[in-house]
Amino acid sequence: MAQALIDLVKQQFPGAVLASHSQHGDETLVVKPDSWHAIHQFLRDDPRAAMNMLMDLTAVDFPDQEPRFEVVTHLCSLTLGHRLRLKSRVGDEEGENVEIATLTDLWASANWLERECWDLLGVRFVGHPDLRRILLYPEFIGHPLRKDYPADEIQPLVAYREVENIEKLPPFGPDEGMAFGRQTHLRPQDES
């Protein structure tokens, strides 16, 4: 059903669609970041698409690839009953210039979703009216869901108590408590 939707977008934006696939009723379009906002606006306003609901907006970090971040949206049409997933790749390998146009003027729900995406992955949404952290505190440095954020790095708001051996306080013995196989992901500049 939604294969017609993919063809519609391809026909409307020639050259903007980099790839598309359709599997088990899951339709996906990979588009250029330049036409991110235009394609979403078309999908929302065109009566053949009528995507009146932005279900999800998030991003995925592929640390070894360039462009590094894949911004993903899930669109749904409540009137026509179909869905579409759109992806777009932004950002270079160092995690700089991760910028894409905001969708807040199309769907109000994009506001908090984009704030979460900025908070945890550091994707900057150009034109967002209020791009602040939403889950973490303003004092936090960095974006914890990036793959180069160290897995054991914490940034406490309250200074820990000045007690001997604070990491393993009594009554916990040396072999009690957390002993999971924690992997530490080093930042690229730390490895050299």
């Binding site: 505190y137 406490p156 708001l157 306080l169 009594p170 009554p171 957390m178």
Partner: protein, 215 residues
């Protein structure tokens, strides 16, 4: 001395009653003291400190700092089936200035840590802290950027009740452990351990757990 009497109970005596069978426990001593009064006993001796700690341990006003799924078990243990008001820990006070016992129930994130610390600092002395569940005790599997790995990193903690979530029996054990520590004036941290270890006790009939040293 009844079987249930604790060795560190208040030293209440009722000499005229001839060291009756219930005189070892404070309740028994008081009861016998009042009951025997007509027969000429009428007095009891103790130390003021013991008397005060005895009163303190049975009137713990609690502040429930409930943040996560352990809250369901907290409701269960405060409800009529397990009912920790039997232990004098009945009255919840949602103002830290009126409470003695801070129940930290659930995960504490880094963002909540200033709130928890402020609540603790607002409480009046003497104040006690009970870490309810694994997350509050040591962070559990929330070993990440967002969570505090145990509330003892920010505030001193008196009793740890492990479990995810702990059984109500374990929570009651923790409460009784705290009462025992209050009676003894002992402020070192204590941890609730299983009374019978299912890994070694075959009579429990539970699934045999493998220990680290036997693998």
């Amino acid at each position: 001395m009844g079987e249930l009497s604790r060795p560190h109970g208040a030293h209440l005596q009722s000499p005229a009653a001839g060291g009756g069978s219930t005189a070892g426990t404070p309740q028994g001593a008081l009861r016998s003291a009042t009951m025997e009064a007509g027969e000429g006993a009428g007095f009891a001796t103790t130390r003021l400190k013991d008397m005060l700690s005895w009163a303190q341990k049975y009137s713990l006003f609690m502040y429930p700092f409930v943040t996560a799924c352990c809250g369901m078990e907290f409701m269960s243990v405060s409800g009529p089936r397990f009912d920790f008001s039997r232990f004098g820990s009945e009255a919840p006070r949602f103002s830290p200035r009126q409470s003695d016992l801070l129940w930290v129930v659930g995960t504490i994130t880094q963002r909540q840590a200033p709130v928890l610390k402020r609540i603790y600092e607002q409480m009046m002395e003497p104040k006690f802290v009970l870490a309810f569940g694994t997350c509050a005790s040591c962070g559990g599997f929330y070993d990440n950027y967002a969570c505090v790995a145990g509330i003892d990193k920010i505030i001193p903690c008196d009793v740890y009740v492990p479990g995810c979530p702990p059984r109500p029996e374990g929570v009651l054990d923790g409460l009784m452990l705290l009462q025992d520590k209050i009676q003894r004036g002992d402020r070192t941290p204590g941890i609730v351990k299983p009374r019978r270890d299912p890994a070694t006790d075959q009579t429990l009939g539970l699934v045999q757990l493998r220990r680290k040293d036997s693998v």
